[in-house]
Amino acid sequence: MTSTSINESPTVPSPRRFEKPRTPQGKAAKALEERLGLAAGARKQLNKVFPDHWSFMMGEIALYSFIILILTGTFLTFFFDASMTEVRYDGSYIPLQGVEMSRAYASTLHISFDVRGGLILRQIHHWAALLFVAAMTIHMFRIFFTGAFRKPRELNWLIGIGLITLGILEGFAGYSLPDDLLSGTGLRIAEAIMQSIPVIGTWVAFLAFGGKFPGNEIIGRLYIVHVLLVPGILAGLIGAHMALLIKQKHTEFPGPGKTEHTVSGERMYPTYGAKAGGFFFIVFAVCAALGGLAQINPVWLYGPYNPAQVSAGSQPDFYIGFLDGSTRLFPSWEIRLWDHTVPAVFWPTVVLPGILFTLAGAYPFLEAKLTKDRAKHNLLQRPRDVPVRTGLGAMAISFYTVLLLSGGNDLIAKSFDISLNAMTWAGRIGVLVVPPLAYLMAYMVCLGLQRHDREVLEHGIETGIIKRLPNGEFIEIHQPLGPVDDHGHGQLQYAATPVPKKMNKLGNPGGARVRGFLWPVRERAEIEAELAALEQAEAEQHAKHSELTD
């Protein structure tokens, strides 16, 4: 080894023999090693390299919110009573005293008003649930648009689709538990959806509800689904998701020094681990602050569920919103054949999500089949370099967005004083027209960005310096990025990496050293100055040294 160590200690390095550790940590490590023989395997994990890019943190947010959900949810189970038995409320929330309600609703009020700190835990739990699904969704966008789902990671994409589906189900089961007016309305719609399935629908609904709606089973059943069944499967799938990630290692963006056969970044221990651990606390901090400062699902304002009542502006949590929207937009098309009915609800609530999630799951395989790309990919693609995929993604997102907005079309109509029927028609037309337009726009933007990258490679960066030629013509001076040919055209090939577009980005091929999301993070000037001085000193010493040896 020719390199010098960083902490050059003046003393001779003392032998570190495993047989005789001196520190308590050393003794503990030895005890563990003798029993489990972890040293080699554990070091491999400690040395695991993680790439550093802000877009990779979406999945982390989802994982951390799942942990927060487990922590806060466990607290809530100590006080929640998933029973539909009718009781007369006698807690401290005076406006509902004496009102008949289910024990589920009464115990939710109890958590909110009579358990010390119960309200904030409930609200943190609800906010974390929204964050969980939202982060998974954004994480999925990142995976999709950069092509991270390609071989060899198709299986993890499928697990991800399973996670997001179960996350939505888990959220629905969770917010149905309080048995308040809003969530009860949601359950009634869920019953209508079950009933709408051809042939077996009535059986499914009677099975789930233990009879005709509302029955007295559904809250208890949803509870065990919500606290054991689905979280258990989620935990297992998250474990598999992580295990595959560790085995296959992260993807990373292409750039100088990046290859298909390596992954670069920081080692897990200590730097990356510290950053990720710190980020967990930051995510938790956001949830805690939201839970304390931003009211969510104030069930005491809605009252207990009553099949005869509903509030105007009844909206589900956002991740169900697209289904609410599709149900509102779908026309009154009911199939009636031979004394049987396929209700209109069936298409937008069973068939549509079925198609959407199946298409999403099948996408990696469809793309591989259509592009005939069977190669392994560890380097990501820039969305602009795959305009068709980016267009399809834009199409899917805009489709989803129109449905989501239509899920709140009554609120939009009220806020902006628009006719409700006009909003419905706008959604019906929009859901067909907007996605193709989004495809076209995204496709064109991709091509435009590609062209601009190539233009800069060929003609150089616009310097903003205007020069007047002797013949009176004004031209802008362009700074070539590399060697030019006789016509002044750049010789660099596009390498699927960011191209510098400004003069102060020059010298940063690939942008690898420019960190930060909204603006570049700069090393602080003092550190730079110190480093410069240090390097100069080193250089001088080196020069002296070579003089001596020459």
Partner: protein, 366 residues
Amino acid sequence: MSIDTSKGSTPETTEDPALTADELAEMSVEEAMLAGAEADGVYIVHRRERFPIAGTKAERRAERTIAALFVLAFLSAVAFIVVFCGAVPFEWHLPGQGSQEFRYFTPLLGFTLGLSLACIGIGVVLWAKWLMPEEEAVQDRHDDPSPETEQIMTTATLISGYNDLGVARRSILKSTIGLASGALAAVPLVALVGAMIKKPNKGPGQSLFHTLWTSGVAVVYSDGRRVSPDDLLPGGIETVFPGVPGGVKAGDSPTLLIRLRPEQASKVQTRPGQAGFAWGDYVAFSKICTHAGCPASLYEQQTGRLLCPCHQSQFDVLRDAKPIFGPATRSLPKLPLGVEIVDGKQYFVAKGDFPEAIGPAFWERP
């Protein structure tokens, strides 16, 4: 003082022959760590202390900033505990009755807990970014398939085991164990579904085709009082229920009693077979939307339209609650209304059940 080894670019050629324990023990911590990383296929191509000169002002300032964050985290965690344990009361009181300080309880908890967590989180991240060595490591992916030799041996192991099982030769075992495990696999499914399954429309109060309304059942409010034709003004609306045990709670009971305005009553177009269902200018419809089962609650008395707030289906009351906009396909079922006289006062009764199933449609519904 940065380590820019050439190992990152050509790792294969510089692979050290395995180091002995003695050699490793003689190395500095740094060197042994690098040797370990290399053994794991990790090449540290760039590594530099953030503050190569220890103990400068800048370094001490960074350290102090992070420490200040941790102190703040400590203080706000203590503040959380103090607030939680009673410094701020949490018992709810009506406005104007008793202390309103409880309104600060949850926000203060959120603020202190959020601040504490944020300070720890940001502190640790800054610790990593400001003080831990800057490093760029490259790791071999080793994601090639196993060597061909391994593949051949594993395939052979699998085939040999398969032969040992003798499944190919003993086809009777193969088919019988398949039969047995197939049936056994169905057991949990059958047990769960079999325990939960309920035959639809069977048993008292379980039919989707009938409600608790029958001929002669009193029309009551949710508190059980009977409804009289004098109760509503023209254009008025009330949610009423069948006056039988459990009538107010049942999911299919809610019924809208509407008193039309006199000028509207003359314009009513009834569906075939529902001519005698109204009483005077009173009409009654099932409140359960025929689309997804929400209560169709919003009545616009000027236009005689009912709106369901869940999916915006609209029904024209003057045309026997025919759907005129939105996703609903069926009219709201109409309740035949009558009146009986008790103690000289008129009260509404039903003259029968709804003539059709109420609420959202289902497969068996004609």
